[in-house]
C-alpha cells in the first residue's frame, strides 16, 4: 500500500470535491471506465471528496456529465505540482544546474595528496615527481593513471622498494615502502689506505686491518697515510700483500675562529607600523586580495596560514594566507668593551658550530682577544675536539 501511495505521489494526484445528486453514479461510471479512485469520503448528502490520478481526472469529464455532478479540484498534490512551482523561477533553475555542475566538478578533482610510509626527506622528491607530471591538488581524476604514477615515482626516486598510488574519493594516497641500502662491500684483496681527514693529534688508535704507520701521540697532517693497506713482507722475495685497511683513529683536532670586535651594535627595532597583505588560498592556487603593497624601506615579513576546518577535524583546502610586514628601524648602539666582546664571541661560536662535524666531541674551548693591525681588537675562539679522522683512499700503486 505504501508503494502505491508513493507511486501516486510521484505521478501526482488531485483531491476532488464532487457535488451532485447522485455521487454514487459518478463513482460507478468512473470505476467502469477504469478510473482509479481512492479515499472517498462523504462530506454532505450531496457531496463527497475523493482522490484521483491526473490521468483519471482528465478522463472524468464524460462521467461527470452523465451523472450530472460537478467536479472541483480542492488540492493538487505530488511531485509534478511541487516542481511546477519552480518552473517559473529562473534563478532556481540556474542555481540547480550550477549546484549539479559544481558538485560533479568538485568530486572529479583531487583535493589532497597524502604521502605515507617514507622518510620525511623523501617527500620533497616525491612531490617533485608529482609536480613534473603536473599532478597536484586540483587536477582531474579522469586523466590520472595510478599505476603509471607509481612506476614514475619508483623510477625517479632512489631508495624506494615499492610504491602504491591510490585514488580514494577526492584523495590521492601515495604509499611508499623504503628500501634498506645494502652495506658497502669491502673487497679485502684491494689495497686501501687510511688517511687523515684533517690535522690532529692521535689519542687513540684501533687498527683492524693493515699496518699502522703512526702511533698514539703523533701529530698528523691532513692526507697523511696513517694505516697502509700494502703489507711488505720481511723477505723481499715474497713481495707485497694488499689488504683493505680498516680502523678507527681518534684524534684531537682544533677549530679556530677569530672575528673583529665591533664596538657598535646595529639594533633592529620594530617601529610598530605594520602592513598586511591577504591571499585567498584554494587548493594550490593563491589569489591576492586587493590591497596596497607595503611601503617600507626595511621590513620583516611573517607569513601565517589560516585554514578553514570542516566537521570532524577535516582541514579544507580553502584558507587565507596573511603576510604581515613590520617596519624596521636600524639604530647604532654603542657598547661597552665586555658587551662587544660577548657579542663577537657569540658570533664566532656560531660560525664554528657550522664547521665542526656532528660526530665529534668537544673537549675544551678557549677564548681570548688580541689587538691586530689598525688597533682593531679581535676575539679568538679555539675549540678542541675529539673525533675519528680515518678516511679511506685507494693505495697508490708504487
Amino acid at each position: 500500500m505504501f508503494l502505491v501511495h508513493l507511486w501516486n505521489y510521484i505521478r501526482g494526484y488531485v483531491i476532488l470535491l464532487v457535488t451532485g445528486n447522485s455521487v454514487e453514479r459518478f463513482i460507478n461510471i468512473c470505476s467502469k471506465r477504469q478510473i482509479l479512485l481512492w479515499d472517498i469520503v462523504r462530506v454532505t448528502d450531496r457531496s463527497a471528496t475523493m482522490k484521483a490520478s491526473l490521468r483519471g481526472f482528465r478522463l472524468m469529464r464524460p462521467a461527470a456529465k452523465k451523472s450530472g455532478c460537478r467536479v472541483r479540484i480542492q488540492k493538487r498534490k505530488g511531485l509534478p505540482f511541487a516542481f511546477s512551482r519552480f518552473k517559473k523561477r529562473k534563478g532556481f533553475k540556474v542555481g540547480f544546474f550550477l549546484f549539479i555542475t559544481l558538485l560533479t566538478l568538485s568530486t572529479s578533482i583531487i583535493w589532497d595528496i597524502q604521502i605515507n610510509g617514507c622518510k620525511p626527506e623523501m617527500i620533497p622528491q616525491v612531490m617533485n615527481v608529482l609536480n613534473m607530471e603536473k599532478i597536484g591538488r586540483g587536477s582531474f581524476k579522469m586523466g590520472l593513471n595510478p599505476k603509471a604514477i607509481a612506476s614514475k615515482i619508483r623510477l625517479s626516486v632512489d631508495g624506494i622498494a615499492w610504491v602504491g598510488v591510490e585514488i580514494k574519493g577526492v584523495m590521492l594516497y601515495v604509499n611508499i615502502e623504503d628500501s634498506i641500502d645494502a652495506p658497502p662491500l669491502i673487497k679485502n684483496n684491494q689495497a686501501f689506505d687510511i688517511v687523515a681527514e684533517r690535522d690532529g693529534l692521535i689519542v687513540q688508535m684501533e687498527v683492524y686491518a693493515g699496518k699502522a704507520l703512526v702511533r698514539k701521540g703523533d701529530t698528523v697532517k691532513k692526507d697523511q697515510v696513517l694505516v697502509t693497506g700494502r703489507l711488505e713482507s720481511m723477505y723481499p722475495e715474497f713481495g707485497t700483500r694488499d689488504v683493505h685497511a680498516m680502523g678507527r683513529i681518534i684524534a684531537r683536532t682544533w677549530y679556530e675562529s677569530s672575528l673583529p670586535v665591533s664596538m657598535e651594535y646595529t639594533q633592529r627595532l620594530r617601529t610598530g607600523k605594520t602592513h598586511q597583505v591577504t591571499y585567498l588560498r584554494f587548493l594550490d592556487g593563491k589569489i591576492r586580495l586587493p590591497g596596497a603593497a607595503p611601503a617600507f624601506d626595511l621590513y620583516e615579513v611573517t607569513t601565517y596560514d589560516k585554514t578553514l576546518t570542516g566537521p570532524f577535524g577535516v582541514s579544507l583546502p580553502i584558507g587565507l594566507t596573511i603576510e604581515k610586514s613590520f617596519e624596521i628601524m636600524e639604530r647604532q648602539v654603542p657598547l661597552t668593551f665586555d658587551e662587544a666582546l660577548a657579542i663577537a664571541e657569540e658570533k664566532a661560536r656560531e660560525e664554528l658550530a657550522k664547521r665542526i662535524p656532528p660526530d665529534s666531541r668537544v673537549v675544551d674551548e678557549k677564548v681570548h682577544h688580541y689587538t691586530g693591525e689598525n688597533n682593531q681588537t679581535y676575539v679568538q675562539v679555539v675549540v678542541e675536539c675529539e673525533e675519528d679522522i680515518a678516511g679511506l683512499r685507494p693505495a697508490s700503486i708504487q
Binding site: E24, I27, C30, S31, K32, L36, W38, I40, R42
Partner: protein, 105 residues
Amino acid sequence: MKRGIHRIKPAKKDRESLKSLGERLARIFEIPGDVIGSRPKVTAIGRGEVMIENFKGIMDFQDGMIRINTQNGVIKVMGSNLVIREITSEEIIIGGKISNIDYDA
C-alpha cells in the same frame, strides 16, 4: 416399519436452479467458485476493512451505510465513518468502523 435403505430425494425446488455453466464446471473440477463465476467474494479484515470483489456497482454511499450491488443481490455494509478506500471495476475496499455486513438488504 419397513427395513431398508431409504434415499431421501431432495425436492427439486430447493436446488439452486440458477447455477451458471461456469459455476457448475467449477464444482466439477473443484476450482474455487470465485475464480470462474461472477459471484461476489467478501473479505473482512478485522473490523476496519471489507473488500468486495466481483461487484456491479454502488447503490448508496453514506457515512453510516454503503450498499453494493452484486450478482447475488445487494450487500449492505453498515458502520460509522465509512470511506471507500479504493474502487476499481473489479473490487471495492471499504474502510471505517464496521458493524454489519448484510445480504438481501
